[in-house]
Structure formats: C-alpha cells, structure tokens
C-alpha cells in the first residue's frame, strides 16, 4: 500500500496553483475543469509520484454553508499541514523570504535537525525540515525515550 494523492483544502485554486508551481517549484500534474469541480494536483520537485490535490470545497459535494465554514477554518490556519524535507533549509528559507512568503517560524536547530515553518497562500501550515546532526542531544527524558525504555 502507498499514498499517491493527499488532499489539501485551499481558498482559491488559481492562487494555489501559482503558489505551488511558481513559488515552491512544484509540478502541476493535472488541472482539469470537470464542470462543477476543478481537479488540480501538484507534485513536489523531488517526489513526482506523490500528488497533492488542491481542493476547493463547494456544492454539490459540500453544501454552501459547510464550504463557507471550511473556508473560514482554512483562513484561520486550521486547514491542514504539510511537512517538507529539504537539503539546505537556510537556502530554502532565504528564497521563501525573498518571494514574500508568510513566515511562521525562522530556522531553529533542534535535536532532530533544523526546522522552519511558513504558510501557503491559503493559510495552510507548512513545515520544513533539514535532517542534519545539530549536535543537540536527544532529550533523555522525552516521551519517546520513556516509551522505548518501557518497551525494554
């Protein structure tokens, strides 16, 4: 079993397509007008087999009132989250700043690597991680360490 498409709710598909294609360098894998709905998928540069469905909820699938609520929740930043991995987070981060992307968190060194966070054009939360040894010790008293200890 594998994941081939994940869905992300967006507020405006034209704007989302521009953001993912032009700002993040994703490939638009499908963009089809099917009448009531527009099927829009994009794939990350280094992972062409994983598609993100940029979905705009609305009738007839989702009633207008629910769609309105979803739109508000996405605008609040509660729509969804993507976790990216990059080779050079500071380079990626500088490029995002240069492009005027909304930053949530500047790169921070953690025990598992360096991470940062930003928002897509809809307000969805996107985290970026560079997996690198920062020299910061894994917390011995962390829940994971405790769980591992409990398992022997």
């Amino acid at each position: 079993m594998k994941i081939i498409i994940v869905s992300l709710r967006v507020r405006d598909q034209d704007s989302a397509r521009r953001f993912y294609e032009e700002t993040l360098g994703f490939t638009v894998t499908e963009d089809m007008d099917l009448g009531e709905m527009r099927w829009l998928t994009v794939a990350p540069p280094d992972q062409p087999e994983l598609n993100v469905l940029l979905e705009k909820p609305g009738p007839p699938f989702v009633d207008a009132e629910s769609a309105q609520r979803m739109d508000e929740l996405v605008a609040k930043g509660y729509g969804g989250t993507l976790f990216f991995q990059v080779d050079d987070i500071r380079k990626t981060f500088d490029e995002l700043v240069e492009k005027g992307v909304e930053i949530i968190q500047e790169p921070v060194e953690r025990f598992y690597g360096i991470d940062a966070a930003f928002r897509d054009d809809s307000g969805n939360h996107i985290r970026v991680n560079q997996s690198v040894d920062t020299g910061i010790a894994w917390p011995e008293d962390s829940m994971t360490a405790k769980a591992q200890a409990a398992q022997g």
């Binding site: 949530i104 968190q105 928002r119 994971t144």
Partner: protein, 143 residues
C-alpha cells in the same frame, strides 16, 4: 466576519508566534491585522476563542516553559528572553497560566519534552486551558 478578515487575524496571531519576544501590544497587532484596536480585540477573541493579550501571554509562557525544561538559563534570563519586561510580570503571568512558579515548574517538569517538530510541539503545549478566565476586564493591552 469575512474569511479575508479572518486571514488578517491569523497573520496577527502568526506574528505573536514568531515575534513573542518583541514588545507586542494590542495596538501593534491590530495594525498588523488592518483593524482598529477595539475591533481587533473583539474579532480575535471571536475567531480564536481568547483575547490577543491572553494569546501573547500564553505564547510567552509556553516558550518560557520550554526554556525552563530544556536549558540551564536562569529564571531572569528566561523572563526577558521570551519578552516579559519584568520578573514580577513574568512570575505573575506564569503562575496564573500554569498554577506554578517558574522555579517550581522547572524542578518538576521532567519528562515533558515531546520528540516532535519544535513549533508543532509549541502549538500543542501552549497552556491555554489553565489560562481560561485568567483575564480581568479592562486588562487588555497591558502587559
């Protein structure tokens, strides 16, 4: 409230998450959200369930909790590091939010560091539940 206004409110909330150590008052946040301060405070509470002032305090306390748990920084250093202007306001906010003093929290808070991405942990460990009702009327905008 339109979704566009909500997006402006979210940007102000993101500013708190990013710049909690800066001197943030309701006036500055309202400006960021393109709203008048009174309107902003009301709308923020309606959208996110708590006032902007409380959000700033709980974010700073959450950041302080992490520093107390995971570094050897003194309580005074932690206080200024997360944006409080005095040890008194820090201790008072910390106690109201967590029910504990910074020193007592540090002594007891072992085993609490989640091994998940940092800012993700920050979203889930912000001590908002215990802060509910901590605000006095008219306290908004004051540190």
């Amino acid at each position: 409230m339109t979704a566009e206004q909500i997006a402006h409110l979210r940007r102000a909330k993101d500013l708190v998450d990013r710049s909690y150590a800066q001197p943030l008052d309701v006036l500055a946040l309202a400006r960021h959200a393109h709203m008048s301060p009174a309107h902003f405070a009301r709308q923020f509470k309606e959208a996110f369930g708590e006032s902007p002032h409380q959000y700033v305090l709980t974010r700073r306390v959450e950041r302080a909790m992490e520093l107390l748990r995971e570094t050897d920084a003194t309580v005074t250093d932690v206080c200024f590091e997360v944006g409080f202007q005095s040890l008194g306001s820090f201790s008072s906010a910390f106690r109201r939010v967590t029910g504990s003093t910074p020193t007592a929290y540090r002594a007891t808070a072992i085993g609490y560091a989640p091994t998940v991405p940092g800012c993700w942990a920050a979203l889930w460990t912000r001590p908002v539940g215990r802060a509910a009702g901590m605000e006095k009327p008219g306290a908004q905008g004051r540190e």
